[in-house]
């Protein structure tokens, strides 16, 4: 961390960021949900570990459970770091840690998925067949598949509910990590059903259903990793902002452009924004009308007023451009193509 800001350095550095009250309330709820999620995942992973035995599908489910801790931990860590105020060494603040955390989580998912797929393939190719025998459960001897299915049921049942709660909060604080974790939890039931079918298949005498289910689950993990990796990379190469669920582009850049062109002293304007963590940074190029007096003050006012449009708009730089500016025409061509 660098030296604290001096009073004059408001020109140099971005302002401190704080979630507005409504978003702060959503954030607190999200943090609470994440703690609940972590406790739930730890208990369900422990149960899976205790019951997994030699079943490859159970082992894969255990690892999938364990790795789904990562988005939750990334969210909790990034949330603390991202709102740190900017300093002389970090004039843009610390919002970027969210993107870094997201990238790390996606890579972890992808790596784990590939590893588990390879493990399942190697086991089959080396001639190993899944066998599930008996287990001593509180003094009774039961087929070990039943505690496995019970662990799977515990692991799968609450997940879609938690996932749904989180996915409703994610757009409200524009948090992609929370959204990613929510999507993974909501889709968890499919992978857990596959594992349940794997275990039941072994019980019915078809040992090969188990590694097949394991492969299916690891493909699911790989798919999660790849989708999130794409989003994380887009973030880091400063793609035009999309909505939290990536369904469509964010209307904010267009909104901002309409607002700026609506100002009386602005003849034309062009906007580009990028996402850094939860917030947007951006630049606007405006062509002021001829002989506009007090241009620097008007520009400064416009910057403040524009940021009030949306809480996510954290830092906007407005640059005046002359009429018939080739640079402005270029930027317009690049944006529209």
């Amino acid at each position: 961390m660098g030296a604290p800001l001096s009073a004059r350095s408001t020109l140099r550095s971005t302002k401190d960021f704080e979630f507005p009250p409504e978003q702060a309330a959503h954030l607190r709820k999200a943090v609470r949900l994440e703690y609940v999620t972590i406790i739930y995942i730890v208990t369900s992973a422990a149960l899976l570990f205790l019951t997994m035995g030699s079943s490859q599908a159970m082992r894969t489910s255990f690892f999938e459970d364990a790795i789904s801790l990562v988005p939750s931990l990334v969210f909790l860590t990034a949330i603390r770091l991202a709102v740190k105020p900017p300093d002389a060494d970090h004039p843009y603040g610390y919002h970027g840690v969210v993107s870094i955390g997201y990238l790390t989580a996606s890579l972890a998912l992808l790596g784990m998925g590939v590893f588990l797929l390879a493990e399942a393939a190697i086991k089959v190719l080396s001639g190993e067949r899944t066998t599930i025998g008996a287990m001593n459960l509180f003094g009774h001897t039961v087929w070990a598949g039943w505690p496995m299915l019970a662990a799977i049921a515990y692991s799968a049942a609450p997940a879609p509910f938690l996932g749904r709660l989180k996915s409703r909060l994610a757009p409200k604080i524009h948090d992609k990590v929370l959204h990613a974790g929510a999507q993974m939890m909501k889709a968890d039931w499919m992978a857990e059903t596959a594992t349940a079918i794997g275990v039941t298949g072994v019980g019915l005498g078809y040992w090969w259903i188990d590694p097949l289910a394991a492969a299916f689950v690891s493909l699911d993990i790989i798919k999660d990793g790849l989708t999130n990796l794409r989003v994380a990379v887009d973030d880091l190469i400063e793609r035009t902002p999309m909505k939290t669920d990536r369904s469509e582009p964010d209307p904010l850049p267009a909104q901002l452009q309409r607002y700026l062109t609506g100002l009386d002293w602005v003849a034309d304007a062009e906007v580009r924004l990028r996402e850094v963590g939860h917030v947007y940074f951006g630049e606007a190029f405006v062509i002021p009308r001829d002989n506009t007096p007090n241009l620097p003050e008007r520009i400064a006012d416009a910057m403040e007023d524009a940021k009030a449009i949306d809480w996510r708009l954290h830092d906007l730089t407005i640059t005046p451009a002359p009429r018939n500016n080739i640079a402005l025409k270029e930027s317009r061509r690049n944006v529209s193509s």
Binding site: G133, L149, I197, D245
Partner: protein, 267 residues
């Protein structure tokens, strides 16, 4: 992908008619997507005749199998979130999650319903073959005190365990002697059913054979034998879950007997 929630979606609990196949008008409007999906799901249940083969699991939920009770299967699954604590202010699910929860519950229920006793089954019928031929083929290799060759006969702690198991299966024992590697190859090729030569859970053979549950835990008396306790097991060929289950059952039920045999062998 977000689904738009309809405010006229039926809140639960509702009557079966609204959720089931006969749902026509709900709140005076056309059938909502949720009710339509509920109807489709009830149709799916209709088309699967689950009542064959003693499906106790499903029949407890849907005793008479008509539309009303198929709707109730749905209701039971939809009623679950009511019990969630209200601090999460959870109000309703959309059709997508209902469907996924229903499919998941159906998969688990189907698994249980196939019959608690029917699982596990075997892939190659090793246990049936043992019972039919009344022979248990055992691979042994000398490893006192677990397996000892005395006067041409096989003796030792594990030999006694094997005899007990064979008695339970109503079979006689046919011993096959060889080195550990040979025996493991034969086990993998299913030329023998079970091997016993003082294996423990850390054996390097555990990847190629299915280890049973430990029948005995010992602590090495000599310090150089390795730290920690050893869990002694037998091994059967992989993929034979029913055989493994039966042997595990015998081993776990008679642990007192194995301890006694071990102590006798120590003297």
């Amino acid at each position: 992908m977000q689904r738009k929630r309809r405010n006229n979606a039926p809140r639960f609990p509702v009557s079966c008619e609204e959720t089931g196949q006969s749902a026509g008008a709900v709140n005076g409007r056309r059938r909502t997507p949720e009710a339509h999906r509920a109807g489709k799901f009830a149709q799916m249940f209709d088309s699967i005749d689950l009542r064959q083969g003693g499906i106790q699991g499903i029949s407890r939920i849907a005793p008479s199998g008509n539309h009303q009770n198929h709707g109730r299967v749905f209701l039971m699954m939809r009623c679950v979130p009511r019990s969630l604590p209200s601090i999460f202010s959870f109000r309703r699910r959309t059709g997508g999650m209902r469907k996924s929860l229903a499919i998941f519950s159906a998969a688990i229920a189907l698994g249980c319903a196939v019959g608690c006793d029917a699982l596990p089954r075997e892939s190659a019928g090793a246990l049936d073959q043992i019972r039919a031929s009344k022979t248990l083929r055992v691979g042994v290799s000398e490893n006192p005190p677990w397996v000892e060759f005395e006067n041409g006969k096989v003796a030792g702690v594990e030999a006694d365990v094997i005899e007990h198991i064979a008695d339970e299966f109503g079979a006689s024992v046919h011993y096959v002697r060889g080195s550990e590697t040979e025996l493991m190859k034969k086990l993998h090729a299913r030329d023998i059913d079970i091997v016993a030569f003082g294996l423990d859970t850390r054996t390097p053979h555990r990847k190629r054979a299915a280890l049973t549950r430990p029948y005995l835990e010992t602590r090495p008396t000599l310090p150089e034998s390795g730290a920690g306790k050893r869990s002694h097991v037998l091994a059967v060929s992989q993929g034979e879950s029913k055989l493994l289950f039966e042997i595990d059952r015998i081993l776990l039920d008679n642990k007192v007997e194995w301890e006694r045999l071990y102590r006798r062998a120590q003297r």
